[in-house]
Symmetry: C2
Subunit: 397 residues, 2 copies
């Protein structure tokens, strides 16, 4: 009942929120003067001064390319192809975005006379099936994923045998603070998937999943649980090359996850190995995978989350009768700008009406929560916030 109520409230709040950010963003983009308080991005390589971000969210790039004719950063406002840089002497190029960017993490790269390179100033993050430059526009609510003086869990790299792919595969496993203290305690597990073009590093690096959980647990807002993150793009077009969404076949990843990884985790970690203590969630393509795998394996997961990755409609629930009686939570979220644009539904998804679907599920008496991240798009701040909203609801029944 608590979650049903909160679902209604969340859906209502989301609709209220939806009317605000467009106007606010448009106003700030057209009228604000650029404040010269730029600071190096928190994601810069050690000792690198650029790129920089100011208090309004403008981004300033500075790149050394003495022989270049044209330098562009692919990050900027929509429709402008990014930010053009101009020569400023000594072989350097500089440019400032034509408006403030959304808060949070953004991927980008440089275009140097038609060639794609990363910005030597920043750390690299795996997105778009390549290691990309990244920049962080500080969010006003960044405190929830800050490194605080609280007990910290661990992020463990494990190699698990995968006979179906004839290799050992990598997963990262978040174990909550105190996991090693009591050798008899057992924990629920969330299987958490990245998006298309990302990999198993995304949730703990770009996503700060470990810090979000450390902080929620320290505040008593979430139960301690394990998170397992592995690579979900098992469909390849040729050895080593990730496949596209249009040719996506869920079977290979479903096999890795349900036949190989889950048994490995249950035998190598102190889990509570049943559906009441197992969740699956994913962002974007990871949500698409989550919906497919949980639907095809209704006995495995009793908590399900789709983050910018589709929704469950009343028809979906009706088509999977086991869901209605046993699934404890359907969590669906989007960034508000995704709902404004309504153009990001993954191919093959049902009609894109997440608000209507949430209301329909609630009317059916199905436990569901619909969350909208204010003023964010199909990017990682939406998903950090979604994890913050979803984690406290998991494994409560």
């Amino acid at each position: 009942m608590k979650t049903i109520l909160s679902a209604c409230l969340s859906a209502t709040a989301a609709l209220a929120v939806l009317s605000l950010p467009v106007a606010a963003a448009a106003q700030s983009r057209s009228t604000a003067a650029v404040i010269e308080d730029f600071q190096p991005s928190s994601l810069n390589q050690p000792g690198q001064d650029y790129p920089q971000v100011n208090s309004q969210g403008y981004v300033r790039f500075r790149v050394h390319a003495p022989g270049a004719e044209q330098v562009r950063a692919t990050l900027g406002l929509g429709g402008e192809g990014g930010t053009q840089l101009h020569k400023v002497g000594d072989g350097y190029w500089e440019g400032t975005s034509s408006g403030p960017l959304d808060e949070g993490f953004h991927y980008y790269h440089l275009d140097i006379d038609g060639a794609v390179f990363n910005d030597p100033g920043t750390l690299n993050f795996y997105g778009s099936t390549r290691w990309e430059s990244g920049i962080e526009v500080p969010a006003h609510d960044a405190d929830f994923y800050a490194v605080k003086d609280v007990p910290h869990g661990q992020v463990r790299q494990v190699l698990f045998p995968s006979p179906s792919t004839d290799q050992h595969r990598r997963a990262f496993v978040y174990t909550p603070p105190g996991y090693d203290r009591d050798p008899t305690a057992r924990y629920p597990v969330l299987y958490l998937q990245h998006g298309w073009g990302e990999d198993e590093t995304a949730w703990s690096v770009q996503g700060h999943a470990n810090l979000i959980m450390d902080n929620l647990i320290a505040e008593g807002d979430a139960l301690p649980f394990i998170i397992v993150m592995t690579y979900g793009m098992t469909n390849v077009v040729r050895p080593g090359a990730p496949g596209g969404l249009s040719s996506f076949d869920i079977a290979p990843f479903e096999t890795v996850l349900t036949r190989e990884l889950i048994p490995y985790i249950d035998s190598h970690f102190r889990t509570l190995p049943d559906a009441d203590h197992r969740a699956m969630a994913g962002l974007s393509m990871g949500g698409f995978e989550t919906k497919l795998i949980t639907t095809r394996n209704p006995d495995l997961f009793n908590y399900i989350g789709l983050l910018s990755g589709g929704t469950f409609s009343p028809d979906d629930i009706a088509a999977t009768p086991q869901f209605r009686d046993k699934v404890k939570l359907f969590f669906v979220s989007y960034g508000s700008r995704e709902l404004e644009r309504r153009n990001t539904a993954p191919p093959g998804m049902a009609a894109f009406d997440p608000v209507g679907n949430a209301e329909g599920l609630t009317a059916m008496g199905v436990n569901n929560v619909f969350y909208v991240s204010p003023d964010t798009a199909h990017e990682f701040l939406s998903w950090r916030r979604s994890l913050r909203e979803m984690a406290p609801l998991l494994f409560r029944d």
Copy 2:
């Protein structure tokens, strides 16, 4: 006695080895035709065909840079400034090293008309205080760090409180296979340091320390122990910017390691918290740090390793009388090409005579092993092999 004997044998073998690689390398570089069996480097980004390596160790680069006037990869034979690439159509540049490179891992980057960028084809690795491109020339003995069907340990990212630097700092902790199985078992610990310009990721990524240990343990060649890897360049020239070697002050890192990290590890992992079960080793600058810290804290570590990072001389031992009676092993190693060139002794080190020093220690009855990695320079294959040689000798007494 066993280790003393093996020290003598190792030193003798090293001297024998020293006379071989120069001639062999010179011959292959001048007379061999390039065999067209190039394959993508194992360190390429997913789906990337270049750079490539052939069976002789030649490296071929291919980069898309349609507007460039000159493209160079900084990797090649000494004195030639790397490999010049030439236009091959469609905006691509290609070039092959003028000779075979040493086996193992190499850092490099691209110079595009005087600008420094990474090769978009490869993964990035932190070296030279920046994330660099990397390439792997398959080693004939690469089997010892291959991913095999053996039990695998974990590499755990931990955040430990560091009051002296007013932050939580990151360490990676290798726990051996089976660590989680018996909650009463306790393990020795090796503190293992990276080199100048690298960071705490180096040993488990470039170094494959986890795989080397998994394989040694599976074969029964090493006792299972924990390895702790953290960032050793605590001297900074300004916030976030690593300092140079010339201004190096060991005190800040010594404080982090001995007052903060060791107590954290001993309280959060099941260690055997005494000097007989604690080792410190490091490569290059990490060896320099190891010598300083073990000398200043003779009660903490009874196993010491310097990998391409200086040696202990008879005078050093005489100046630290506690060492002679209690240290169970001094392990010193170099790549054979370092001994050929004799130009890589870190500043401030004693006279560079590792062979003479090893013989002097042996004559004093001090347990020591001197290992020389055949046909490698100041690079990671020397250090992978050094770990393989050192690990079986640790914690045996």
